[in-house]
Amino acid sequence: MKLSALPQSYLNRRSNSFRSPGPLDSSSDSAVKSPATIFWLILHGLCCLISLVLGFRFSRLVFFFLFSTSSTNFYTAPFRSTAELAKTLDVHSVLSTKPVSNLELPLLNKTATNSRVVVGRHGIRIRPWPHPNPIEVMKAHKIIERVQKEQRLQFGVKDPSTIIVVTPTYVRTFQALHLTGVMHSLMLVPYDVVWILVEAGGISNETASLIAKSGLKTIHVGFNQRMPNSWDERNKLESKMRLRALRIVREKKLDGIVMFADDSNMHSMELFDEIQNVKWFGAVSVGILATLANTDESADQKKDKEENPRMPIQGPACNVSNMLAGWHTFNTLPFAGKSAVYIDDRATVLPRKLEWSGFVFNSRLLWKDGGDKPEWIKDIDMLHGDIESPLGLVKDPSVVEPLGSCGRQVLLWWLRVEARADSKFPPRWIIDPPLDITVPSKRTPWPDAPPELPANDKPVMGIQEPIVKHTTKTRTSRSKRRSKRKHETRTDTQASTRHSEQN
């Protein structure tokens, strides 16, 4: 009804998808300029001028208002049935096409008769809630997992061996941080893992509770000495602890590939794939993340070096024919005299010449009875004293296999970061029972908002010191602060003045 005012071409356009179009040849003789053509040309020109003045195409607005009963917003139309959508499609196409171009459109009936695909403007279908569905996301992740499993079966390591991980650890503030990192890496490894944890100071509940959630096969042994405070002593003790773990491997006749994962190192997943390639004794490149603590020094260094300072690497060095030619070790000269001695020194912690974590070997090398062991391996029980690195186990260092495309790939990173020796932390990092006094911090991110005050009359204070379970300490600081404040009432004006005092 409303559309009867428009030329025939609109009707034809609209009827395309419903019924076979009638004879439209009259309008297809576009060579002859009929009065209707001229009329629409003039109207089109007028509309263009108006749009130029207004700054936007107003034709859609006009049609929108004309047909406001039958159509809703173009882009966010809810998902409708096909019939309705077809109707609106045509209405939308009427809305958006320019008047003159419709003269060519009646010829589209050629396709409309045979194909269900219509040329012209279509609606953009958007579903009512165009956001991810968590169930679909989980299904997709399952599919990806299955695909990756298949890839691993076909292109990955055939017959993967168990990985025996040796980690020396002890209870301290940052143990949770470091050990959780290693634990999560090991949980992601697609092969069987046996984790041997040697703990200085004996088995503790802290460590046990941390690793209980891993789901890995763990062997948790204690070592009777406590961890000393200097880095030298600590390194020596760690070597002893690792030898203890190797003795366990020998006793239990564990079969697999032994690697050393120190709890503050960072491992990439490719490392675990690469060490499957070891035959007897291999070495990987370790990136050393030691930086200079003193910023002046680093600025000087930057001026000296033309290129970017590169990360030092410890590991095997190969010659042109990809044979082991030597070792890259850490250059300690720039750090002479400035390195950390005690665990809580602020200076840089240096690695030793060759870190344990850069070596992997087949566990059969440790087994007692000869079998097919090569003759260049020393027996653990025959060692006099301690060894500084696993190279002490081999008589001839040239038999070591370089891994990770001959040491060019850095597969793990070494870093030593520890908190102060006297720093305290809540046992198992659980605050239990919950603190009965809670205090907003002195500087909140929202300086103008009134602090959220509890319903009871307890005064509030800032938590600045490390959390301690004793409430006596808080009480003393509370009394200190009480002297600063005059009142304890909690009106809003008081709050704002308190803030202004504190800030």
């Binding site: 279908r125 579903r127 165009p130």
Partner: protein, 417 residues
């Protein structure tokens, strides 16, 4: 005749095992499945001996001179016409004796008139084609013998022999009247469309094989992207409001899935495009202004399952390759539910599709390598032509019988080129 064909076929089939080793070195030790389409297990057929092709010697203004004017024609997605010509010139199926030829090829490069941007202009192509046909019909008797029914032409442009990039105009023009009886080898394919003739051979668009070869990554790299797509969603230059370009399908993909972490879709042009495709499980191949796209070829080469969003599309070599088993077809109206559709595919089906894609003969069939290798797209075209043999007796016209109307079509086409 039939028995000899079968014997030859058997011998060739056995020799196909030897042939497989020299194939394009992509599929390594992955278990694959044999591909057999509606015409049977024909991907590895050898066309040599099954047909003879005569190549007309046209003056170089139809082919070489055009190429000299713009060398970009060798690298764009329509380069198949040039490489097919070069392949046929040195192929064993070529015969210099036109009397024994089964098929006749006219080397005219209609898609080589490029704009500064590199897009081909089809406005002179009808005249060029017409002029070429006039030449061959006047210099050789073979055109008039059948009015082109045993001739084939390569028309790799957007809408094939309709010679226009805009679908409405292409439909309006229809296929060039002079080509009505010839076999058309084209990239465009859509069922019940004016521009797809019965008996046409659909080929994949040209994708540079060496470039793709250099971007291969180790096959053990885990596929961690679920759906991948790079390209336009709205063609702001030609269709700013949307709804015209790609029939609104690409815009629908964007609007529904732009914040979905499973869909890695954007309009960027990353340098790691090929590497990313090898890390994806599904690659979207939606229609653009025309339903076909080189993304299909790239997805097949890189082992990413193609998700084809184009209603009624006819994919390359549809009789030799069972596309339904290899890719996922989604109707344009189902695009808002794309995530549901893709996640509801059982993992076994997905693994099977990946195995089919890993088949080296599948990858080989999508490529136009230089020099030609067994099983590649050139050979698939010849296989398709061979499957149409022998010509029906009705193809040969009685003397004096005329079917084609040489003056049909828009007036502009009749001007000499």
């Amino acid at each position: 005749m039939e028995i000899w064909k079968w014997v030859l076929f058997g011998i060739l089939f056995l020799s196909a095992f030897v042939v497989k080793i020299e194939a394009f070195k992509l599929g390594r030790s992955q278990p694959t499945e044999r591909i057999s389409g509606s015409a049977g297990d024909v991907l590895e057929d050898d066309p040599v001996g099954r047909l003879k092709v005569f190549v007309y010697e046209l003056p170089s203004k139809y082919n070489k001179k055009i190429l000299q004017k713009d060398q970009r024609c060798l690298n764009h997605m329509f380069a198949a016409e040039i490489y097919m010509h070069r392949f046929l010139l040195s192929s064993p199926v070529r015969t210099l004796n036109p009397e024994e030829a089964d098929w006749f090829y006219t080397p005219v490069y209609t898609t080589c008139d490029l704009t500064p941007n590199g897009l081909p202009l089809p406005f002179k192509s009808p005249r060029m084609m017409r002029s070429a046909i006039q030449l061959i019909s006047s210099n050789w008797p073979y055109w008039n013998r059948t009015e082109g029914a045993d001739h084939f032409f390569l028309v790799p442009h957007d809408f094939g022999a309709c010679f226009h990039y805009q679908e409405e105009k292409a439909i309006e023009r229809g296929i060039l009247p002079l080509l009505q009886r010839a076999t058309l080898v084209q990239t465009f394919g859509q069922r019940n469309h004016v521009c797809l003739k019965e008996g046409s051979i659909t080929i994949p668009p040209y994708a540079p094989p060496q470039k793709m070869q250099t971007h291969l990554i180790p096959e053990k790299t885990p596929r961690s992207i679920f759906v991948y797509f790079r390209g336009l969603f709205y063609d702001v230059g030609n269709d700013p409001e949307g709804g015209y370009y790609a029939r609104g399908a690409r815009a629908a993909v964007w609007e529904n899935f732009k914040d979905n972490p499973l869909f890695d879709i954007s309009t960027e042009h990353p340098t790691t495009y090929y590497e990313d495709m090898q890390r994806a499980v599904f690659c979207l191949c939606p229609l653009g202004w025309a339903p076909w796209s080189p993304r299909l070829v790239e997805a097949v080469i890189f082992g990413c399952i193609p998700v084809i969003i184009a209603d009624d599309i006819v994919l390359p070599f549809a009789d030799a390759i069972p596309w339904e088993e290899i890719g996922v077809f989604v109707d344009e109206k189902d695009v808002p539910n794309l995530d549901t559709i893709l996640t509801s595919i059982p993992p076994e089906v997905i693994l099977r599709k990946q195995r089919l894609l890993a088949n080296p003969s599948m990858k080989q069939a999508m490529l136009f390598p230089q020099p030609a290798q067994p099983g590649d797209a050139f050979h698939q075209v010849l296989n398709g032509l061979a499957r149409k043999l022998p010509h029906d007796k009705s193809v040969y016209l009685k003397p004096g019988e005329r079917v084609l109307n040489w003056t049909a079509g828009p007036v502009g086409d009749l001007k000499p080129w």
